[in-house]
């Protein structure tokens, strides 16, 4: 945990939950795992207040706790879950994502869950049922509120059935997951507890100490840790009865059709279950959005739309587990067929004019191939007399043309669309980054998988290089890429490959080293270790650079948040006036010209700062989570 991250987390908690919570969080982050008494001593807050604060923080999953039961006296330790604190920044993104996919009502459900941390379903529904006032506003860490209309949508939820329907949809899509006991404990403790259990299960304690036995234990522990989270992989986990509906998307469509209503009533949620928001799933979605953006810049807009559709199909099966290696999607690797994409892709996308065919020679070859497809598929579907046409066509030597006459225009259109989609997917597969991998199989028009971990690795490297480029210029980027490619290099070798003078690159290498992008290994030629008689090899360590970058990111984010605070305090008089209930909505009449101008200026700077914060957040996710 880095100092800058501590600072950022403290600021985030202070902005969202107030000064008290941030004091407790700061004490926990600074000193690590502590007991209640230690926290009281360090935060210098009365015990009763600390207890209340901890309850709030635990409710929000920001603090984890664990009670050791082996000794005579039980001791409960508290630990801060700083990654969860960081997730506070994402609440805006999350609500927006849900709104795009499931509409504003589902968004309001999610935003309420975000606000509550976790909640029992029955309680949640009752709370909705009673309240007639607008829903509590979701508060972003920076203090801006998602306005009630935005969060709850135009049509307010009126019945409990509606809410539970949304909850079921979100659960099946794994945006909401049931809270399990291990969610509340630090993973180290969970692992230790399991390890203890496994060890006692082993025959003798003496044998358990041996290396081989240790390995067996390690394996078992890993297995059980995995089993803990695998429950969630089950699609209807937490639901009482299985549904016939394949996915949330289909449900949404059926919402308006009365004929399918009875089917919906076949299953319901367990009212006693406690739900929370699944942050990892959102991270996976943000990641996919980034991949689409990348594909767009590499290949083109239309291809990226096809890619987005492909990823959307994959998304459904994602549960999302955070691991040390990065984000693991969970479940088995799923293959998306071209047909699936064709079924859901918007029809108004111009698939044809977004790819240029090669010059005449390849063109002819390609056309022949395309015809092959057309006729091949034609044979399967065409009616009896079409064979005659085909024979005629063969004698004419113009198979493809005839094939087109054959089919009904709709089927033909479909076929063409699929082939065009396939072309775009081939482009994605052929790219140096290999956005998709083709799966040879029985599927018509082919199936596709995406290796997100490898892609994210490449994405990170690209981002890092871009940062170097913008900070230090083109020559520095060239040098970093060479070093990354060749391993350890001395100045002379670098100059030779980069076709630059040694004295020109020296300054660049110096700054890169200073900022932690490059590292130096010294190899003395003689025993005396004279600087003049020493080789200096530069090398690139992705992990170390990543850490250095993240540290900078956290610091930059803290500064932005602090700056927002500063700007707000500059305008505090004005803002409190604008916030008055009688002024709200009547700003034009009740504020002076200068005040109005200042207000718009403040709004603009806040927007700019928050926008910037979110952009840095994107980079943090890229470097840390994906």
């Amino acid at each position: 945990m880095q100092q800058n991250a501590v600072e950022l987390c403290t600021i985030l908690v202070r902005d969202t939950y107030g000064e008290l919570s941030s004091r407790v969080v700061a004490a926990l982050l600074e000193y690590g795992r502590s007991t209640l008494h230690t926290i009281v001593r360090r935060a210098k807050i009365p015990e009763r207040v600390v207890k209340q604060t901890l309850v709030v923080l635990i409710q929000q999953h920001l603090v984890l706790h664990y009670t050791n039961e082996d000794g005579g006296r039980d001791a409960t330790h508290y630990e801060c879950n700083w990654l969860q604190i960081y997730e506070l920044l994402h609440s805006g993104r999350m609500v927006r994502t849900i709104e795009e996919r499931f509409g504003s009502e589902a968004a309001s459900v999610i935003s309420n869950f975000l606000l509550l941390g976790h909640a029992r379903v029955s309680d949640f529904i009752t709370a909705y049922g009673i309240s007639t006032k607008p829903k509590p506003n979701a508060v972003l860490p920076n203090g801006t509120t998602i306005s009630a209309s935005e969060a709850t949508g135009t049509a307010p939820i009126t019945t409990a059935a509606q809410i539970s329907k949304h909850i079921i949809t979100l659960m099946q899509a794994k945006f909401l997951i049931p809270v399990q006991v291990h969610h509340m404990h630090p993973s180290v403790d969970t692992e230790n507890a399991i390890r203890q259990k496994v060890t006692t299960e082993q025959v003798g304690t003496a044998a358990a100490l041996q290396a081989r036995a240790k390995k067996v234990i390690d394996e078992k522990v890993a297995e059980r840790m995995e089993a803990l989270s695998s429950d969630i992989d089950n699609k209807n986990f937490g639901l009482k009865r299985k549904s016939d509906q394949p996915d949330g998307r289909a449900r949404k469509r059926t919402k308006f059709s009365t004929s399918l209503l009875p089917e919906e009533e076949e299953w319901e949620i367990d009212g006693s279950i406690v739900l929370r928001v699944n942050n990892a799933k959102f991270l996976a979605i943000f990641r996919n959005e980034e991949l689409v953006r990348w594909a767009e810049s590499r290949i083109g807009k239309t291809t990226s739309l096809v890619y987005a559709e492909l990823l959307r199909h994959l998304e459904k099966n994602i549960v999302g587990h955070r691991t040390e290696k990065g984000l693991v999607d969970g479940g088995k690797k799923s293959v998306v067929s071209t047909l699936d994409i064709g079924n859901t892709l918007r029809k108004d996308i111009d698939l044809v004019n977004s790819i240029a065919s090669g010059p005449a020679i390849t063109n002819g070859h390609k056309r022949a191939m395309a015809n092959g497809h057309t006729t091949g598929a034609n044979d399967e579907e065409s009616e009896g007399d079409s064979d005659d046409y085909d024979l005629d066509a063969d004698s004419d030597g113009d198979v493809g043309m005839n094939g087109t006459h054959e089919l009904s225009s709709a089927a033909q259109e479909k076929k063409e669309q699929l082939q065009n989609i396939r072309k775009h997917l081939m482009l994605l597969a052929e790219d140096n980054n290999q956005f998709v991998t083709k799966q040879e199989g029985s599927m018509q028009y082919g199936g596709w998988t995406v290796d997100t971990q490898r892609l994210c690795e490449a994405l990170r490297i690209r981002e890092l290089e871009q940062i170097v480029e913008e900070r230090f210029g083109g020559i520095a980027t060239r040098l970093v890429r060479i070093i990354k490619d060749k391993g350890k290099m001395d100045e002379k070798g670098l100059a030779d490959i980069a076709l630059l003078r040694q004295k020109d690159i020296r300054a660049h290498l110096g700054t890169l080293h200073e900022r932690g992008f490059l590292h130096i290994q010294e190899v003395p030629k003689t025993a005396e270790r004279l600087p003049a008689r020493t080789f200096y090899f530069f090398y690139f360590d992705e992990k170390m650079s990543k850490m250095a970058m993240l540290n900078d990111f956290y610091k930059a984010m803290s500064r932005i948040l602090q700056r927002i605070d500063h700007e707000r305090s500059l305008n505090s008089m004005l803002l409190s006036k604008a916030d008055r209930t009688d002024v709200k909505g009547h700003e034009e009449e009740l504020l002076t010209k200068k005040e109005l101008a200042d207000l718009t200026k403040w709004k603009r700077s806040e927007e700019k700062l928050i926008g910037q914060l979110m952009r840095v957040d994107r980079q943090v996710m890229m470097f840390r989570d994906w």
Partner: protein, 299 residues
């Protein structure tokens, strides 16, 4: 030649005009009266002493090479020390020889060596050159020779200095050429660049690019495929080109106009010169930051 007598003179007259040929002892025996090797040896000695021939080794046998009149005159005027130095420099041919090595080989006193080198240089018998590999070394070679590529550093070097302008001009030209071949011609009316379909094989290969550079009159310097490859590598490291079709061809990386910049580098913090000093309680902090002020005013 006037200083030669008898047999030596006859040998020189017969063979002295053919400077390329190497003569073994057997080749010269016919000149000796009655095949007397004793006389022949004397004559060869005389020729050697006067500098008309030099001894070379071919395999295990010694062979003789006759020297041109020019060279003979040249060495004739030299003092023994100078001749020694000259010989060593001559033997180094186009590689040149480092003054330090010259010293150890000739075993001369440094001042003597310097004097010899100076006279030889004044007579324009030798010249000192700069090596790319060892810019600080003084390296000598015969006046009329051109240094090898190892010494000059190949096409990228002008006067032992990397010619950055030349390289940059070539880089730009090659990038432009590859870009022009990487994307289809834009249709009128459409604004975005569309890609070629997958499996397109028309991207330029190394030999295509080399050929184009050769025909384009960009430079008089002869550039081999290896040189062009080095340039392409640099372009790849610059992120402007990438390898396609199994690394055999090159394609330009698509560039988006007005691409989104980095979040962190666009904010003041990413480019802040005092970022390390910035601290909430320190003299530099977010509230009094001048860079933020400037940046926020830029709306």
């Amino acid at each position: 030649m006037s200083d030669l007598q008898g047999l030596a003179r006859r040998i020189h007259e017969a063979c002295g005009s053919n400077l390329q040929k190497l003569y073994t002892q057997e080749d010269l025996i016919p000149f000796a009266p009655n095949g007397d090797s004793e006389d022949l040896l004397l004559a060869i000695n005389v020729l050697l002493q006067r500098g008309y021939i030099k001894i070379l080794k071919q395999g295990d046998a010694f062979v003789y090479q006759f020297l041109s009149k020019d060279t003979v005159d040249r060495t004739r005027n030299l003092t023994p020390d100078e001749a020694l130095v000259y010989q060593h420099i001559e033997s180094s041919a186009r590689e040149g020889v480092w003054s330090k090595i010259l010293k150890t080989r000739t075993n001369l006193h440094p001042t003597v060596l310097t004097r010899c080198l100076k006279t030889l240089e004044n007579h324009r018998y030798i010249k000192s050159i700069k090596s790319v590999k060892f810019p600080t070394r003084k390296i000598y070679m015969l006046w009329d020779l051109t240094p090898t590529i190892e010494v000059t550093g190949g096409p990228w070097f002008t006067d032992a200095e990397l010619d950055a302008d030349f390289i940059n001009a070539l880089l730009v030209a090659i990038e432009r050429f590859v870009t022009s071949r990487s994307f289809p011609k834009q249709r009128p009316g459409s604004t975005s660049i569309i890609p070629f379909e997958a499996g397109y094989t028309g991207y330029p290969t190394l030999s295509d690019i080399t050929q184009w550079v050769k025909n384009s009159n960009l430079t008089e310097v002869e550039l081999s495929e290896a040189d062009i490859k080095a340039l392409l590598e640099v372009l790849i490291y610059d992120g402007k080109l990438e390898r396609v079709i199994g690394g055999t061809a090159y394609k330009a990386v698509r560039r988006v106009e007005g691409a989104v910049k980095q979040g962190v580098t666009e904010a003041p913090c990413g480019r802040c010169p005092v970022f390390d000093l910035c601290n909430e309680d320190g003299p530099i902090n977010a509230a009094n930051c001048v860079y933020f002020e400037k940046w926020l005013a830029e709306i």
